[in-house]
Symmetry: C2
Subunit: 373 residues, 2 copies
């Protein structure tokens, strides 16, 4: 017996005889369906049915069974049920993969944005008895393989992809596995139904807002280049500006990665440039907050010296000084809708073509960070 075999209370568990071995102290043997059945004096099948199909069993029997269940605290063993039913009642939520920071340090993945998304997901799924399994991808191939494993091992019945990509390309394996899957806040794909905000339109709205204020020179703090949403937002932003006669070279791009630090970095570049933009659109609130901070540190002021727009509408955006003008994403609703779409897929329903892309409205919330130039 190898050293890592740490199963407890097994050696004493000879099946013969009727004296049950005392359970290992501190780790009680759980009640099982037969225990309940024995108490009531029925068969295990009846107990099973009493719980799953109340109408298939005599009300009186059912009551006795329910009493016994309460008495013993019986809960059906999930592994056994999953095995038999070929359903795990788990949903895997795959979270985006920010690359390591410069110092090789990993960063938390559940940012304020994802946090509320998770809330909606969790609420919707748990209503239907599904549990949420968290699959963080830390830009590591190993992690990514493990996540695919969860799927092939049948540990989850569905997948929610909260990201733009799986860097090591396992998304293909997932799609191949045929597991129900829904993407969130991501550009659509033929194989992946998605729920998202109308990012292009939101970006156009931002552009219009800034144009209306009279701005003519613009900055744009990007997301990571690989992120599909980055292109959608930039596209919408640029399109509206150009339609208003703004030349492409009046739009300066600053590299960002959605995170606070990259917002500051962008601001540093911004500050050093000649002929600065008078308005900057950062496509995450965190970057906008980082940007704003750097501007103030440099002794300039928002919006007097530069107007600033964020994206997402995280709680902290309201607590900036001045409060950030931003695009409020209905995060909880996005999460809930994605979960509901996944529930339908898991139920075996097919989605009509026009149901495969759900675009929700995002709302421009004008705070104090934008003004006339």
């Amino acid at each position: 017996m190898s050293i890592d075999d740490n199963r407890r209370g097994r050696s004493s568990a000879g099946g013969n005889g009727e004296a049950r071995p005392i359970a290992h102290p501190g780790r009680r043997r759980a009640t099982k369906i037969e225990d309940v059945a024995a108490i009531v004096g029925v068969s295990a099948s009846t107990v099973s049915r009493a719980l799953a199909r109340p109408d298939r069993v005599l009300p009186e029997t059912r009551q006795k069974i329910l009493d016994a269940v309460r008495l013993t605290g019986y809960t059906p063993n999930v592994a056994a049920r999953s095995l038999r039913a070929a359903r795990s009642m788990n949903v895997l939520v795959v979270l985006s993969s920010p690359p390591k920071t410069a110092e090789g340090h990993l960063e938390a993945v559940v940012t304020p944005f994802f946090s509320e998304l998770l809330l909606g997901i969790d609420l919707a799924l748990s209503e239907h008895g599904y549990a949420v399994l968290l699959g963080n991808l830390y830009d590591s191939r190993q992690r990514e393989e493990r996540i695919v494993n969860l799927v092939t091992a049948g540990q989850v019945d569905g997948v929610l992809l909260l990201l733009g990509r799986m860097p090591h390309g396992s998304r293909h394996s997932l799609e191949e596995s045929g597991i129900p899957m829904v993407g969130v806040t991501t550009a659509a794909s033929p194989d992946l139904p998605v729920v998202m905000v109308d990012d292009a339109e939101a970006a156009r709205t931002v552009a219009r807002h800034l144009l209306d204020l009279g701005h003519r020179r613009f900055g744009y703090v990007t997301g990571p280049a690989w992120h599909p949403i980055e292109h959608v937002r930039f596209g919408g932003f640029l399109e509206t500006l150009q339609a208003a006669g703004i030349p492409a070279d009046a739009v300066t791009r600053y590299d960002g990665d959605f995170r606070l630090g990259s917002g500051s970095d962008a601001a540093k570049v911004f500050l050093q440039s000649a002929g600065r933009p008078t308005a900057v659109f950062a496509i995450s609130d965190e970057m906008a907050i980082g940007f704003m901070k750097e501007i103030r540190t440099a002794g300039l002021s928002v919006p007097a010296d530069v107007s600033l727009v964020g994206f997402d509408g995280i709680p902290f955006a309201d607590y900036c000084e001045p409060p950030l003008t931003t695009v409020r994403q209905p995060r909880e609703v996005i999460g809930r809708q994605a979960a509901e779409m996944l529930l339908r897929l898991m139920r075996g329903e097919r989605l009509a073509a026009d149901e495969r892309v759900v675009k929700l409205d995002a709302e421009l919330r004008v705070g104090g960070s934008t003004a006339r130039p």
Copy 2:
């Protein structure tokens, strides 16, 4: 057959005969161990051993098996394995339970603070093959019962409690179940080993810092009254102040609940009072940020008009203007250590009395939000 029976591809699955029914399109039948065994020409047992105990099988056989595994993409079915091995390889992370907001709205639970905690937990657990199951308690009895269910149903092998309490009292059921369990950032209890920061000492350090600056009238923004950590922090804070001869009535308490909004509310009360404190200690960064915002909105300035200290050291704290003086909790380390402690418990190890409470050092980070009065 009831309407919600949506099992697919079952009706055709008569076990007789050898023609396997074609799997339902879009939901392939997963490879199982016998398929691999058949390809290699060995028994299922050998395949199982080749994967679990490489030394118990001929290297040559093992290689052939591994090839077949790769070829077929075989992954052991988790439900079957859990059932047989009585281990699920899942850990439940129970997240704190903020009450509903005034409007009856639920709030996200994965705040920036918990987010990094989760990172540490996730990294440590996944190294050992455990997956993380997220159990949010939304102050709802039903949810809480479901969470206890996960445990009694054997769906998880261990529990991490990231909270001060389970409002509906299921913690007792959990402790009774004998499942390995570790608490995080919570006051200890005889039944629950914990990992936490030395909150009392951290609060004393804050008090000393403010005293050193010359402050003599203090404010304190509380956490929820039921939260054990609230009392520990206040205790440490007050103790040091009193030792320095500050009378108890020179310390004003403002009610808070850790969240942004409650920080603003506290500031509103603060602003209206006569003989205001010159220094305020808010026991979460979020409340400090909310407080600071309100102060600025009122036209006052931090730290000129009031010094402000937070607690946690979340990323946003560095991006306030001025950067927040705060107590930096080593969140990722806390998470990792808690996970490691849980791993030991799940391995069946007993913890010595002095190992049951791990206190980590928190570090006072002096930002720009504190100054002489």
